[in-house]
Amino acid sequence: MTDEIVKTAFYDYHFAAGGKMVEFAGFKMPIQYQGITAEHLAVRNNVGLFDLSHMGEFEVSGPRALDFLQKVTTNNIAELEVGQIQYNCMTLPSGGIVDDLLIYRLPTDYMLVVNAANIDKDFDWLRSNLSADAELVDRSPLTSLLAIQGPNAEQVMSQITDYDLGGMSYYTWAEASVAGAKMMFSRTGYTGEDGFEIYIPPEHTDAVWRAVTEAGKKHNMELIGLAARDTLRLEMKMALYGNDIDETTTPIEAGLSWIVKLDKDFIGHDVLARQKEEKPKRRLVCLELEGKAIPRQGYDILDGDDVIGSVTSGTFSPSLQKPIALGYVVRRKAKSGTRVSIVIRNKTIPATVVKPPFYKNASHK
């Protein structure tokens, strides 16, 4: 791996479109184009295009591929049929989260899609736990990724593929012709909206970009930067690794018990089984605030004068037009409706624990 900052295959297009480029996880990525709020609302109400080529893709193959993946992840991959995709996470023996990821069941192999900032760490972790008769390959440098997200995503996607999207369920993938070349795409996303993610080999990146943006013109599709990606996922209470989950937090605490299948064995199983049984000391909750000041990562959450937790992500919600946050609080204060407060610049701002997601009208939940 190199320490150089990597430009994705679409860098020149972002630059030409007025994208503000920043370094993120070793990549030059567009943080925004016309503005976070406008981009956010374009995805909620219409359709937007994201470059997610920084994400990592690993291939796991071999006769023991399934056994190996079952050992290193918490969700049950044996349930997956070819064509299906699963949200999953890898945990340490302590139960702390190594990364959250998507697992695609391919005809004979598996594809893992991991967070950009964790590519090297995940690869080392997987390799150090690799069983005999299982193989691990990092496909990230040769895989570009574009996401089309929003209630009108299917209308754009249907113009660049001949695949029957009407019969395609959420969290499934297909291999079909896209912009004239065969490649893999899935009905997945990180926005709460309907959408597609296209995995593009290097020789087809220009053709796919041109086809998608041309098809998008008829629908006023907007280019979306990483900043709006963050506000979109936050409104859905989708965890962001490094903010809301990390090696010090467990999937039980983070509200991800639904991807922890205790009837199989895996690294971290015993700690998580005990934590589920005894109930975690803290939980990740959704908070809505009064006023206009915005809670940010690390701000204290109070019950009276007692610190009962801290904010892990916060923003001004473009859809709800109010400040929102995710944060860990002690379990007795985690129930929805509980009144707490958040310290913002030495002022205590009233906040309420609310049921997830913040945004209730997404086209896919």
Partner: protein, 126 residues
């Protein structure tokens, strides 16, 4: 990038307009361009004292909070209340309707430490 010649500047990208003993404070075009999606501007109240070099308010954007630093010391005599309902005016008219506070200066000699337009241009354009 607009840098009006008649104003003074700080290296924190505030501008200062001077009329007699009253300093009007805002953020520069350059800062405003970096601050898209302003959701909230937190300002002091009329009558509050501010100290040169210390934070007097905050600009919240969707992405981050940025402190506003007082270029001069004195008493706040007027606050731009239109920013409460329309904080984005800071981005649209940073030197006009987007002004933030007016200060009655307690030590006008502090103005000597501020940058003139030429020095500020050098700062942002290198």
């Amino acid at each position: 990038m607009n840098v009006p010649a008649e104003l003074k500047y700080t290296d924190e990208h505030e501008w200062i307009g001077i009329e007699g003993n009253i300093a009007t404070i805002g953020v520069t075009d350059h800062a405003a361009e970096e601050l898209s999606d302003i959701t909230f501007v937190e300002l002091p109240a009329v009558g509050d004292e501010v100290t040169a070099g210390e934070a007097f308010g905050v600009i919240e954007t969707v992405k981050a909070a940025s402190d506003l630093f007082a270029p001069v010391s004195g008493k706040v005599v007027e606050v731009n209340t239109t920013l409460e309902d329309d904080p984005e005016i800071v981005t649209k008219e940073p030197y006009g309707a987007g002004w933030m506070i007016k200060i009655e200066m307690s030590d006008p000699s502090e103005l000597e430490k501020l940058l003139d337009a030429e020095a500020y241009k050098k700062l942002i354009f290198g």
